[in-house]
Symmetry: C2
Subunit: 184 residues, 2 copies
DNA sequence: CCGAAAATGTTAGTGTCTAACATAAGGTCT
DNA sequence: AGACCTTATGTTAGACACTAACATTTTCGG
């Protein structure tokens, strides 16, 4: 394990603690760096922006693949939802509660919610692309991708502030809401 | 018409032109202010942030009301979609092409897409609240609200970059995609 | 025309983030 | 172990978005 990874780890953990204690906006990058024993510049060498300490998800490719693996012929929304469901079943329940702590910060900070969405938009693009490749028109493809990802994101945010219901349940409920939404 | 409104108008128009010509990120607030014949400070007196020159929508309340007016008893997603459809029918087709020009900028600037989402989150909250008031559980309510608004937003973005199909068509297509998504 | 209120200007500062260059720390090979 | 190269970190300087406090001008009703 290189020195770089250790520093990165230390910065991420230190930042999370400070955010929890005094809020995201009230915490300066200088404080994080000092508390981790490095300089401000070093922080930006490891994370391109302050908020990026909270966003490290390699799920994008996984989701796009799962969408591609969905059976063709059904409606875009159904394919997208099915893909998300399958991708979800392959990912282990989040490791520790680090994910929850991070999302909790995001949920409580408006500017970070915006960042989360921006983060999602790459995934959204990949999913929509897959749907188009499978015969959907561009607009329905994008609408379906956006809707499904928004629902899952909503589930994630809701889960983070709740007590300790499993994340899997929240995600499934959200998917059922969009997918089976037409009939009661 | 007070002087304040005239200055605000001038700033918004000047900003839009500069954004179109050289991009949002490449345009500084100082440039906008100078081109409009005022100071940087004056800009921030009229708009709390640089990106806010592009976001002036008073639709929130309208949408929430329309959702509230939906017939009870059906699924959250259907109520939300119906509300959006109804709200849409009450709003006149966008005035000039100023809306399109603005959204086009947003569509082409990742950080602004994030801001757009953050802007939507208030509307999302109101819609979800209405759904809960009408008997839905919190999570399905939030998922439905997020999904429907995300779909409409996707339609808006797609419309802005397209040639000149009517915005109404795009919105209806997006709503049909989420609402009738279960069956093909 | 006068005076209060609103609009704008000035100055100074904080915080995020970038770029260029300088130093230190790590490991490799002989 | 010691020279050597790579990688991690430090330093300095600066652009830009935004805020706060105070000064100045402009507008407008009486």
């Amino acid at each position: 394990m290189g020195k770089s990874e250790r520093t990165r780890e230390r910065l991420a953990e230190t930042a999370l603690e400070l955010f929890e204690r005094q809020g995201f906006e009230q915490t300066t990058v200088g404080q994080i760096a000092a508390a981790a024993g490095v300089t401000e510049m070093t922080f930006f060498r490891h994370f391109p922006a302050k908020h990026q300490v909270l966003f490290e998800d390699p799920y994008d490719a996984l989701i796009a693949d799962a969408v591609a693996a969905q059976p063709g012929g059904s409606a875009p929304l159904r394919r997208a939802a099915g893909g998300l469901r399958q991708a979800w079943s392959r990912v282990p329940e989040p490791d520790g509660d680090v994910v929850r702590r991070r999302v909790r910060i995001v949920a409580g900070t408006p500017s970070l919610r915006g960042e989360m969405w921006r983060n999602n938009s790459e995934t959204e693009r990949l999913v929509a692309e897959q749907l188009v490749r499978d015969g959907a028109r561009p607009l329905p493809a994008k609408a379906a991708a956006a809707a499904v990802l928004a629902a899952v994101t909503a589930a994630l945010l809701e889960w983070s502030v709740g007590e300790d219901a499993p994340l899997g349940d929240a995600v499934l409920t959200a998917l059922e809401t969009v997918e089976g939404g037409g009939n009661e």
